[in-house]
Structure formats: structure tokens, C-alpha cells
């Protein structure tokens, strides 16, 4: 008999249903784990051949550029060698499984499993070695936080995000500097936890490699909660944009010298920049004693403007404004370049290419939940996330993994497209 004295009819009926409703995502965003697709191996072979050729020519005469290239591609060559070695042993094992000796067959079958696992690993290594390193990966970065349209609520959340990233950097031991922190003067309302309405904030994470670490943070961060200003307890949804731009180390003569090089992304022709100081026109010098030190730079071809007024010294404001302008222009240039490359290669749409419109993460206060929409990771304990604790680093790690997977996928797609193209040409 039933243990319960009475069970309602609908519950009894639901017990009889075919399955339990699925509470997890059916689709996985992770790239399927494959050893290494043939297209990739073909590319690796090509690169390895180039490597060998370069090494032999380097023995006769030294050329720094050639040596640099060898350093870049040696990773691929070694990964391919290991992969091929494993591949050879695998085929040997396969041939052994056909052997007449029963004992030998058994041994080969035993080894086959472990070798296959090893192959998987080596294949992954090979694809990782083939994925081009992000050009700005080794750089420090600028995190720009800007609330989207939608009034005070988004601004309050902007301040929360600002503190989240600061705390995260502190817990990770990254050095940071607040380049800009501007709150709105017009509405003096404070948020639920007394956060000021933020209009714009820029944090510089001075750690080399910070760009790679924070690359996945760029995009729209959505918040769902009942704002402090809401009287009727309705949940509002607003969004804050986070931009991640490469910054450059302050005292690095190597990179600084590169500013003069028009090939560099950070190069800006000084004649293309209009500088406006907010000082009154007319007599200056000893006649007046204005404390106004704000400076605004406008890059005329792109219309990008940067204004800076944090320091009392105009010259240091100018230096920081130039730095922010350089970073913004460099990011724009890179985006434009990638856009062109994408169109040319006619490859699959790169989903990891974040445009500012996509929402990437949701912070839901009612459900105490933070969801990343790209890796599909759901994390509870929202306060810990907003304190920049382990939960946030868990999310950021998942994004890192996702970005790497995406990079590999893109590479494979690109290779396949190229192979198709060449075979079509041959056909003609």
C-alpha cells in the first residue's frame, strides 16, 4: 500500500508520466572533444615544413626576423611531432591486435585505451598550439564600465560592478589604478547599498596578461532586481556595458617607441587629434588663475572623444587622455581588421566576437543567481560574485575555457573552408 494516507490525483498522474521534466540545458555550447580534425593536421604539417626549412636556413645565416618566426611556430612543430609519434604507435598497436598471438592481442588491447586517451590530449595540445595567440594577450587592460540607457538603476549597478572588479583584482593580486570614476551630479539618489549613480568608470589592470584574463568580460551585463527607487516592488531589468581594451605598460620604451611606427595599432597621427582645454579664451598666463584642468581629445577621423579631468595638473590629464584614446583607437582598429578578415575568409560567424549589443551575463537578485549566457554556467551565491569572490573566478574561468574552445572551432572551420576553396580551384 501507499505509505502516504492520501495523494492527490494530479500528483499520482504525474508520477505515471514518461519522464521527469528536464531541469538542465539540452544543448551544450562546448566544442565537441575531438582529437584533431584532419584540416588542422594538414595545416600543422604545412607549418612544420616551414619550420624545418627555416631552421636549416638559419644554420647558414642568421636573420632576426626569421628567428622570431621560428620561435613562434616551434610550438606547433613540436606538438605535431608528438602527435605523429603517438599516431604511429597507435597504428602499430592496431596491427598488433590483428596478430595471431592471443597474449599479444590482449596486451595491445590494454595499451590501446591509454594511447587513445593520450591521442586526445595531444590533439588538443596541437589545436591549442595552432590557435593564434591574441595579439594583445600579454598586455595590461583597461576595464571601462558604462551604464546603458535606463536611468538611475543601471548607474547604481554600474557602481556595483566597479566594486566587483576592484575586489576581484584585489583577491587575485592584480595591481589596479582607477583612471576615471565619474558619478552623476544631477541625481543624488543612492542605491540600496548606498552606491552612487555611476556615469563612467575606467579601471586599469596593470598586470601583464590582464587583457587575456578579462577579455571575456566585455559585453552587456544585465541585472534583474527590484531597484531602491521602485515603490511597487516590480523587478526591473537594466544593463551595464563593460568594455575591455588593451592598455600598455607605462615605462616600456620598446612599446613607446612603437607609437611612432604607423604600422602599430596604437599609432595616432597627432595632427588628427583636436585638443580642447576647457579654459576660457582670451588672456591666460599670469592674468588668470583657473583651476580648470580638464582636457578633451577628439580623434577627428573616427570622432572618438576622450575627456579627462581627474587630476589638478593639466599635463597629467593630457597624458592619461592620450593613453585612453590610444587604447580605444587600437581596439577599434583591431575590431575593424577582424571584421574585414571575417568577410574575406567567408568563414563561419565568429560568435566569440563580442559586439556591444549582446548580453553576456545576467545577475538576478531575486533568484540569487548569476548566469553566463555563453558558457551556460549558472552560479548561485550572488553576493559572493559581487564581492569578486571564488564564484566570480569560477565564472571567469568558464568563460576562458569557452573562448579557447571557440578559438579552436573557428580555426577548424577556417581550415576546412580553405581546403574546400583549394579543392574547388583544383577542380577547375
Amino acid at each position: 500500500m501507499l505509505a502516504a494516507p492520501w495523494v492527490c490525483r494530479s500528483c499520482v498522474r504525474s508520477l505515471g508520466r514518461a519522464g521527469v521534466p528536464q531541469l538542465w540545458r539540452k544543448a551544450s555550447t562546448a566544442a565537441s572533444p575531438t582529437g584533431a580534425p584532419p584540416a588542422l593536421i594538414a595545416r600543422a604539417r604545412k607549418i612544420a615544413a616551414e619550420h624545418d626549412q627555416l631552421v636549416t636556413s638559419l644554420e647558414t645565416d642568421f636573420d632576426p626576423q626569421m628567428a622570431k618566426r621560428v620561435g613562434e611556430i616551434s610550438r606547433v612543430a613540436t606538438a605535431l611531432k608528438e602527435f605523429q609519434k603517438a599516431n604511429a604507435s597507435l597504428s602499430e598497436l592496431y596491427s598488433l591486435t590483428q596478430s595471431d598471438d592471443a597474449e599479444m592481442r590482449e596486451m595491445a588491447l590494454d595499451d590501446l585505451e591509454s594511447t587513445k586517451a593520450e591521442m586526445e590530449e595531444l590533439g588538443r595540445n596541437l589545436s591549442l598550439a595552432l590557435t593564434p595567440k591574441h595579439p594583445f594577450a600579454d598586455m595590461p587592460c583597461l576595464l571601462e564600465i558604462r551604464p546603458g540607457p535606463g536611468g538611475t538603476e543601471g548607474r547604481h549597478f554600474g557602481a556595483t560592478l566597479f566594486h566587483m572588479y576592484q575586489a576581484y583584482c584585489v583577491s587575485k593580486g592584480y595591481r589596479t589604478r582607477v583612471v576615471k570614476y565619474e558619478t552623476s551630479d544631477s541625481d543624488g539618489q543612492k542605491g540600496a547599498e548606498g552606491e552612487p549613480p555611476l556615469t563612467e568608470a575606467v579601471i586599469e589592470v596593470q598586470e601583464p596578461g590582464a587583457y587575456a584574463a578579462f577579455r571575456g568580460e566585455a559585453g552587456m551585463h544585465r541585472v534583474q532586481r527590484v531597484p531602491a527607487t521602485e515603490k511597487q516592488g516590480r523587478t526591473h531589468t537594466s544593463a551595464v556595458a563593460v568594455w575591455v581594451l588593451p592598455s600598455f605598460p607605462e615605462n616600456n620604451p620598446e612599446i613607446e617607441a612603437d607609437f611612432e611606427d604607423p604600422e602599430n595599432d596604437f599609432y595616432i597621427d597627432p595632427t588628427e587629434v583636436r585638443t580642447e582645454t576647457m579654459r576660457a579664451r582670451g588672456a591666460g598666463g599670469q592674468h588668470v588663475n583657473k583651476t580648470e584642468s580638464a582636457i578633451r581629445l577628439t580623434h577627428i577621423p573616427t570622432g572618438t572623444t576622450v575627456s579627462m579631468q581627474d587630476s589638478r595638473s593639466q599635463s597629467s590629464n593630457r597624458v592619461y587622455a592620450w593613453r585612453v584614446l590610444r587604447s580605444r583607437i587600437a581596439a577599434q582598429r583591431r575590431e575593424a581588421r577582424e571584421e574585414i578578415a571575417r568577410n574575406l575568409k567567408n568563414s563561419v560567424l565568429n560568435q566569440s566576437q563580442i559586439t556591444r549589443g549582446d548580453k553576456i551575463r545576467t545577475y538576478n537578485y531575486q533568484q540569487d543567481r548569476c548566469t553566463d549566457h555563453r558558457s551556460g554556467l549558472d552560479v548561485h551565491n550572488l553576493p559572493n560574485v559581487l564581492e569578486g569572490g571564488e564564484m566570480l573566478s569560477k565564472i571567469i574561468d568558464s568563460i576562458q575555457a569557452w573562448l579557447t574552445e571557440k578559438d579552436i572551432q573557428n580555426l577548424v572551420a577556417e581550415e576546412e573552408a580553405e581546403a574546400l576553396e583549394s579543392s574547388r580551384k583544383k577542380g577547375k
Binding site: 598666463g285 599670469q286 592674468h287 588663475n289
Partner: protein, 366 residues
């Protein structure tokens, strides 16, 4: 000054702080009021004091609202890489001065690295005031010049003592490396000193020349000054009453703003020959340049007109005109490209953007 609408005061009180409303009278707009309040708060946060912070903020705002310059209220002004202390009685460093000083430092540095044979760099800063120009140039050249002599001269004892204070203050802040005192190895010394002197006194030039000769004997080769730089008083009497800002007129020293000769009628007639009263310092400074023959000269001026008057003065004297064939007028931001213009029969180059700010002379052999 146009009248500010009452709504602005109300807004300032609501949005910023009750202290913002009186500040608005001197700042004239909300963003700069917000900035000044923020700087006051930041200053209070980093300087410990027995007075409670809120009271200090109120005191600061009160003083500022009475028109006192913010630099006197807070006691400092950033200048290039340095923090310059400011006190009533000494002119506050201006951002235009900062701009051309940094540019000058860059020029000296590049010419020094281009011909490393010239080991010694000597700089004379007349009318030094807070010592900002001398200290900033010292800071910029310190790393690469093994032999560096910087001298700042002012007539006011307040200014000289403040300049010395600024030297020790920036040493304490580690903005400057400790100058190496002259030792047995004469080629390894960096000195900076500030002395009180009247540049109009007849003995001034002879003492400067003697010093130079001494140095030549020590180093056994020709050492001319590398740079003569000066930010002399240049505002005319009516200009002081008409064009200057109220906080400048009421709180900054007139001595540093309006040229007046205190030596009596003799000096006045000597220097007044065809020279406007606001230009008398330039006449004297060009005289000094003629005698000391510095490789480069930079004189701050009020405007393009005054700048061209100085160029005229230079052209009238054949010797100085021959000595300095290369003449430029720099505007407020001297970073941008050149334009050419003829003043009198002389072609000069104009650099940068903004109002004319300084006259730059360079010797032919440089």
C-alpha cells in the same frame, strides 16, 4: 561677470554639497565646483591633521569662496612630475608655464643625447618664484646628464626660501633624486641652488660672469650657459586693473605680475628708452643674454603682441640679432607644428596652438 541664475545655486546645494553654493561664486559652473570640492576632499584625506575633516573642508570652502586661489588654500600645485608648494606672496605656477617647461626639457634632453661630448648642462632661471621651472628641468635632465648645474634667482626672499622648501619637499616625495654634490671628481656633480639677487642691479651681471669664468677655469673649456629661462612680470599697469582675474589681483603678489623698477629714476630712464613699461624686464633679460651668451633663451610673454615686441627689441640690437638667428614664438601648447610669419624684416616660426606664450631664441651653432 554674468550673473549666475539662482537655480544653479540651488542645484549645487542639492546635487553636490551645501558647501558647493558659496564655491560656485568663484568657480562659476557646476563641473568645476564638483572638481574643486573633490580635490579638497582628496587633499584632506591624504594630509593628516588634528582638525576634524568636515571642519577642514568647511574652512577650505570658506577661504576659497572668498576668492583665495585653490593653490593657496591647499598649499600645493602639481607641476610636471613635481608637487610645488604655494604660499601667499609667491606666484602660483601656471599650466602654460608647465607646458613650455616640459617641452624645453625635451629639447635639452634630445640635444644632450645627440652630442654626448657636451657633458655639462647649465641652466639659469631668472625670476624663479616657486622654483617650478628650475626644479622641473632639473628633474627631466637628472637621469641623463652627469654634470648638471641649475640656478634659480629671485628678488623676493620669500620666493627663494619657498623654492628651497620645494626642493626639499620634492626630495622627500622622491620626485627628485638627491643631487650629487661636487666632489673630487668634477665631472660627476649635479647641483641646484636658489639665490636672492636683483637682476637689475649692475653687480648682477659681473657676479654671473665671474661665476662663468670660474667654471671655465675648472673645466678648461668653453662653457656657455645652455639655457636662460625666465617668467618675468609682464602685465601692464592698466592691464592689471582690467584684464586680471579677481583672485589673481587680490591674492597674488603684484611684484611677480607688474614690472616696476624700485631702483629710482636712474634705472627707469636707463631702461625706458623706447620701451613700454611692461616690457622693461625683457630689455634687461636680452642685455643679460648678450653678455652671458646662453645657447638657448626662453622668455614667457603675455600675448602675441608682446612677443613680437620682444622680437623687435632683439632685432634692433645687431649683436643679439646675429647671436640668435633662430627665433620662435611658442603658443600655449607648444607641441604642434610650425607656421611662419614675418615680424619687421625677420622671419620667425610660430609653434603650437593657443595664445602666444613665450619667445624662444636659439644660437646659430646649436
Amino acid at each position: 561677470m554674468p550673473r549666475l541664475p539662482p537655480s544653479l545655486f540651488w542645484q549645487a546645494r542639492q546635487a553636490l554639497s551645501p558647501l558647493a553654493a558659496p564655491l560656485l561664486r568663484v568657480c562659476r559652473d557646476l563641473p568645476s565646483t564638483a572638481n574643486e570640492l573633490r580635490w579638497m576632499r582628496e587633499h584632506i584625506a591624504v594630509t593628516p591633521s588634528l582638525i576634524p575633516p568636515k571642519l577642514r573642508l568647511w574652512q577650505f570652502a570658506e577661504r576659497r569662496a572668498r576668492g583665495e586661489p585653490l593653490q593657496y588654500v591647499l598649499g600645493t600645485q602639481p607641476f610636471g612630475d613635481l608637487e610645488i608648494k604655494c604660499r601667499p606672496g609667491v606666484l602660483i605656477p601656471r599650466p602654460e608655464t608647465e607646458a613650455y617647461t616640459i617641452e624645453l626639457g625635451r629639447i635639452l634632453l634630445s640635444s644632450h643625447t645627440n652630442n654626448p661630448k657636451t657633458k655639462l648642462i647649465t641652466i639659469l632661471d631668472l625670476c624663479t618664484g616657486t622654483g617650478c621651472i628650475a626644479l622641473q628641468l632639473f628633474r627631466q635632465l637628472q637621469a641623463s646628464a652627469t654634470l648638471l648645474r641649475v640656478q634659480g634667482i629671485d628678488i623676493s626672499p620669500h620666493a627663494v626660501s619657498l623654492a628651497r622648501t620645494n626642493l626639499s619637499h620634492n626630495l622627500n616625495l622622491n620626485n627628485l633624486l638627491v643631487p650629487r654634490p661636487p666632489t673630487e671628481e668634477a665631472n660627476q656633480s649635479q647641483t641646484i641652488r636658489f639665490t636672492q639677487a636683483d637682476i637689475f642691479s649692475p653687480s648682477f651681471l659681473t657676479t654671473q660672469q665671474q661665476q662663468q669664468q670660474q667654471q671655465q677655469q675648472q673645466n678648461q673649456d668653453q662653457v656657455d650657459l645652455d639655457l636662460l629661462v625666465s617668467n618675468p612680470p609682464y602685465i601692464s599697469q592698466p592691464g592689471f586693473a582690467r584684464d586680471t582675474a579677481r583672485s589673481v589681483r587680490n591674492h597674488e603678489p603684484r611684484l611677480a605680475l607688474v614690472p616696476e623698477l624700485r631702483g629710482g629714476s636712474d634705472d627707469a630712464t636707463q631702461f625706458n628708452k623706447g620701451v613700454l613699461p611692461e616690457d622693461i624686464f625683457y630689455a634687461r633679460l636680452l642685455d643679460i643674454a648678450k653678455t652671458l651668451r646662453p645657447k638657448r633663451v626662453l622668455l614667457e610673454v603675455a600675448s602675441m603682441e608682446q612677443g613680437s615686441r620682444v622680437v623687435d627689441m632683439l632685432t634692433q640690437d645687431d649683436d643679439t640679432a646675429k647671436l640668435y638667428p633662430h627665433v620662435e614664438i611658442w603658443r600655449d601648447c607648444p607641441h604642434a607644428e610650425f607656421q611662419r610669419q614675418t615680424i619687421g624684416d625677420r622671419e620667425i616660426r610660430i609653434r603650437g596652438s593657443g595664445e602666444g606664450r613665450s619667445v624662444y631664441l636659439c644660437r646659430a651653432d646649436m
